[in-house]
């Protein structure tokens, strides 16, 4: 293990308040991501996996709507204590995000090239030739004709190409941590494979860390170094991917893995979660 983790989260709790009703979305979780590591966060809808990722760089609504407790350390710095300006230096630059639906994450009225250049200009104001950076970024995500794609609008691209453009934008400023929130859920399996293979390659080349949020154990098995399973705002199990997948300790993890229909293993009935295991 490395001496100091890139990201260290301690006792993070997230509470939403609406109409006097308080919902505890995340309940005092702690985790860290080491340099160059891929950590997968797995869970069903409502388990708190996405909100915990969004809370890291203050992407959630501000109080009183949403209250965040606990400490988030980025290279030893407490992100909670930073001013908005200081945080902007980190968000998008050192910690970048890609989301599930590239169609809604891209701005429909600007070209792909313009949107990538925008990110570069904000975070690397010293770079004069932003066009070269944009084309390089598009080339890095294996887009064949970067010049053409840079001039296209999001609606002219397929879902897979849009997600590539999103990845190009996220990686244009060489982040140290990429947070990928269900990056392939909206895509077809063949495109999913291409995107995951691409992320694997980029991670090798750039030695960056990835926080992968997903509900798909198949992707986790082939991509993540470590995995943590979330349920109702708590981490029920975490560990090396192979040991969690092959030998899950927590009954919820066991149940969840057993529910998944697998190719070539047809059963008379699918296994379901027992009543007490359900969210």
């Amino acid at each position: 293990m490395t001496s100091e983790p890139l990201l260290h989260v301690e006792n993070l709790s997230i509470t939403f308040t609406s109409h006097d009703r308080r919902t505890s979305a995340v309940k005092s979780i702690s985790f860290s991501v080491a340099k160059g590591e891929v950590l997968a966060v797995v869970g069903e809808s409502g388990s708190g996996k996405s909100v915990s990722a969004l809370s890291l760089t203050r992407l959630l609504p501000s109080p009183p709507l949403c209250q965040i407790q606990g400490n988030i350390f980025w290279c030893g710095k407490d992100l909670q204590k930073l001013s908005e300006d200081e945080l902007t230096q980190i968000r998008g630059k050192e910690i970048a995000y890609i989301f599930q639906d590239p169609g809604t994450s891209l701005n429909p009225v600007y070209t792909i090239g313009y949107q990538i250049a925008e990110a570069v200009k904000i975070h690397e104001p010293t770079i004069k030739d932003t066009e070269a950076v944009v084309l390089q970024a598009l080339q890095d995500v294996l887009i064949d004709d970067p010049r053409k794609v840079a001039q296209q609008y999001p609606h002219e691209l397929s879902g897979g190409m849009q997600q590539r453009a999103m990845i190009a934008m996220a990686l244009a400023c060489n982040p140290r941590l990429l947070i990928a929130d269900e990056p392939t859920t909206a895509l077809d399996v063949t495109i999913q494979k291409e995107i995951i293979d691409l992320l694997k390659r980029l991670r090798q080349e750039r030695k960056m860390s990835i926080l992968l949020i997903t509900h798909n154990f198949g992707i986790v098995a082939h991509f993540a170094d470590r995995v943590q399973v979330m349920r109702q705002g708590e981490i029920v199990e975490s560990g090396e991917t192979s040991s969690v997948m092959q030998n899950p300790k927590h009954p919820y993890t066991r149940g969840l893995i057993a529910c998944i229909p697998r190719l070539g293993q047809r059963r008379r009935r699918l296994t379901t979660l027992s009543e007490e295991m359900k969210a």
Partner: protein
């Protein structure tokens, strides 16, 4: 056992949409969503239709119940060519063929409570039922999809995704159909809920002798439920066969590519 009766026969079905790009003097090639496909669905069995987005699988399902326009081809329900029927003439077959949709959030009317959602098809197809008989049927329907009877007075937003999909299934069952077209019925659900809904569909098939055309992109789910699988790509059926043979010995390059893309563990 003797050979099961063929319930649905699709012959040379094509659905083309006019392309809207370009100026009026330019001749446009139509979008061939479904291009000359043929298949049959035997009674009491499940035929799985897999493919990626844009392959034409949903259009095929919709064309059968006239939610998509038929460009050419025939659709036989038993002996009757239902492809040529329209409006009132098709009505009796709407009772025999029902559909379950992917998105349980958008396919239920948010302003109707469960009782009116379930009663509506009954009022159309069973006009002779009295109000109390209808209510009784609604309770039975909820029971058959394993939901409690007191849900009748609730509204769709009060339910989880899995519960809404159960209500969608109950609505399809209301008119006692023979064939149900399931269009991605479990794609929007969490895996644990997906397993429950798949099991429910299989239980209902056994109890009621239902026939399914099961449209999905998830090969493992399709394998689990299907007696026969059709693989669609770009509007064509590229491969058809028993699940075991398609999965162990895929013949068409597209099927091979699809299978190799599924992450296994």
């Amino acid at each position: 056992m003797s050979h099961p009766e063929t319930l649905l026969t699709v012959k040379n079905l094509s659905v083309h949409y006019p392309s809207r790009l370009g100026w009026f003097w330019q001749k446009n090639e139509p979008k061939r969503a479904v291009n000359d496909i043929s298949f049959t669905v035997p009674r009491g069995k499940t035929v799985g239709l897999v493919g990626e987005s844009g392959s034409g699988k949903s259009t095929t399902g919709k064309a059968i119940i006239k939610l998509s326009p038929l460009t050419s081809g025939q659709i036989f329900y038993k002996e009757t060519n239902i492809g040529v029927l329209d409006g009132q003439a098709f009505q009796p077959w709407r009772k025999k063929i029902q559909m379950i949709f992917q998105d349980p959030y958008n396919s239920l009317n948010p302003r109707s409570d469960v009782q009116s959602i379930l009663s509506e098809p009954l009022e159309i197809h069973f006009p002779n039922l009295t109000a109390s008989e209808r209510e009784e049927r609604c309770v039975d329907l909820l029971k058959s999809v394993k939901l409690p009877a007191d849900y009748l007075r609730r509204y769709p937003h009060e339910f989880s995704g899995g519960q809404r999909q159960r209500i969608g299934i109950a609505r399809a069952l209301a008119v006692q159909p023979e064939l149900i077209i399931c269009d991605e019925p479990v794609s929007a659900l969490d895996v644990s809920v997906q397993a429950e809904v798949v099991n429910l569909l299989q239980d209902l098939q056994e109890q009621l002798g239902l026939t399914y055309l099961f449209i999905a992109h998830d090969l493992a789910v399709v394998e689990q439920v299907s007696d026969e699988i059709l693989v669609m790509s770009q509007g064509k059926i590229v491969e058809a066969g028993k699940p075991s043979s398609i999965l162990s010995r895929p013949q068409h390059p597209y099927t091979q590519k699809l299978l190799s893309a599924v992450p296994r563990f």
